[in-house]
Amino acid sequence: MSSNNTYSGKTYTFNHGVHPDEFKELSSQCSIQRMPFVEEYTLPLGQHIGAPSKTLVKKGDSIKRGQLIAEPGGFVSVGLHSPVDGIVSEIGIFSNPNGQVLPGIKIKTDPYSPQKFNEQPIDIDKLDTKAFIAEVQKAGIVGLGGAAFPSHVKFAIPEGKECKYIMLNGCECEPFLTADHRVMVEHPEEIIDGILILNKFLGAEKAYIGIEANKPDAIEKLHELAKTSDFPIEVIALEVKYPQGAEKMLISAILGGEVPSGKLPIDLGVLVANVGTIMAISEYFRKGKPLMERVVTITGTAIKNPANMLVPIGTPMSTVIEYCGGITDDAARYLLGGPMMGSVQKSLDTPVVKGTSGILILGNNEVKDFEEYSCVRCGRCVDACPMFLNPSMMGLLAKKGLWEEMLEYNVMDCFECASCSFACPSGIPLVQSFRVAKGFLREKQAKEKAVKDS
């Protein structure tokens, strides 16, 4: 079910990987719509990786759209802003899409407010790098690809290292998702502008924008715009292959070579950021708009009207689904993010958070339980693994609970892209068991360290 229109020029890629059905045609041509304001918003304080934000408001406070309602709780933490004019109705603990129950702020929307946001650009000429990073942190900007890692931490280049290349990730290699695709097609100017703002403080040599070949319209638009820029920006078409959007795979595809185990892209002089994140940078510095809404793909085979929506952070997922016509009787699985790495939801009463790239409702057809057969050592998982691991061997070890032996097979290098489980003809839960193994090994290492330190 690959899309009919693909980019016909030269494409680059990494070694190994898999080719799942794309399912992108469900929503790839749906323009971004604005989600109407709803009565109530729930904003968890820990939507990002790192320390949760600290509340600045109390119950009953009247707040404005875009107002900072929680400040960063540390360096690896970001600010949080109100998506609407309204009143803080409750500060308590609420269920979060990740399954946890976490502290958060509940806001009751002011029904009479026009919900207008006063745009106020920030003068970037007056900022030095330190002030820029503080601004990005205050703006609440996190990686919008799904990991929600605070962006300013990445932008703060460690001493002794330099950023040679800014690499924009527009792969969107997860099946079904089209949010980044629509952002690139509808907001290419903001993306290029975001690169230029960022580069003012990073002083890179060149920027790359990596886009999978199934988005020829995005490639073309950004390519045309990039040509007009004084700063060298190259749009690279990438082969449609999963997990092309993984940071390491993107770097290998564009620059060649590999990111050494245990090192970060910045050790190679590369800074990778999602296209949506870079657009958020432009929105903040040109219009003063903090990260209070994001583009979310609402799709799947069991949703009535698939769409790409600009959703205020904190909107209950159920209202977004309702707006898209609701789910069909066939609905059998709710997912956040893509089908390869996304997380399952037991209900839709949790809010959209900064890391929500897609809401996916799958029908019974896609929700089959796979019968598990013995491993026949066919090696399909070995050919699939982009990290060149041996999932077959690790799977056999995991089955016996030999976690420590798995270390010899470099299980800790696995970034859980799930290509192995996708490829396995015997339906063995490979990546699922590696998650367990990694968790166990991490816990054990932490314990050993604690014993050593005491």
Partner: protein, 332 residues
Amino acid sequence: MEQIRKISVSTSPYLKDAITTPKIMMTVVYTLVPIVLISIFYFGLAALLITLTAVFSCMFTEWLFNKPSDRLQSLKDGSGLITGLLLALTLPPGFPLWMVFVGGVVAIGMGKAMWGGLGQNVFNPALLGRAFLQAAFPTAITTWSPPDGRYFGIRGTNAALPFFQGESIDATTGATPLSKMKFDHIGTDLWDLLVGATGGSLGETCALLLIFMGGFLLFKKIIDWRLPVSILGTVVILSGVFYLINPEVYPSPVFMILSGGLLLGTVYMATDLVTSPMAPKGTWIYGVGIGILVVLIRNWGGLPEGVMYAILLMNAGTPLINRFTKIRTYGH
């Protein structure tokens, strides 16, 4: 009141490739069907009886040696069926059926179940079964009745009673192209080798069909192209060298490839997923090893044919090869 909906919760991924292990196994079975048919064409009812006996024996043993809860699944995965078919295809047409049954029990029982079932065995089960038969019944397994156009006659000693070798009911026993070459230095017509009009085991004679099926399995990516290339390449080069040195004594590379069980073994047994190495480098070592052993045994061994032992020996080396050809992890 809202309707209660059944929602599936599990961890990602939520998509899976369409290929499944039973599908892989069944594709192999489908490619074996024409080979069984052509063996029936050449060797008549005897070939059919041997095939049915071997398949029944393997499936029965599979069923017997599995836990009751695993029985259905172990039959469904199709691996027992393949072992049965392959065992039959390596046997001579006049082989007593009771021995075929014993071979099937040994193939699955000692070749697979004893190791812990599918995926755990070191040796190819069908070849292990055949090796057992070769050791236990050396005369019966080297008695070849040639194709003679009789479709319904039972041949040789097919009907021998258990624990008896049986008296040959027809006097015609022939030789295989390999034994003729080895012991009498008489070649066989190339065309006969290609179409399979020679003496030999049921499934090994028709070279053309085996080449075609091998090509199909390669196209379907069920077998690794490195294996046929490395095995056949090694055999051609090595036997070619000896042929050039002394064509009087040593057979030509073309004869080497087309005669005996080399093609059957290359396409269906050396490529056994379970017992061949996983990494590309290991696959090359394994394939070249088989090629060398085949030429050594055929040219200087006591037996005219060496494919079975060559593959079994390299099977034994597979765990070691896997250990020394670990794939380099990204970024290491």
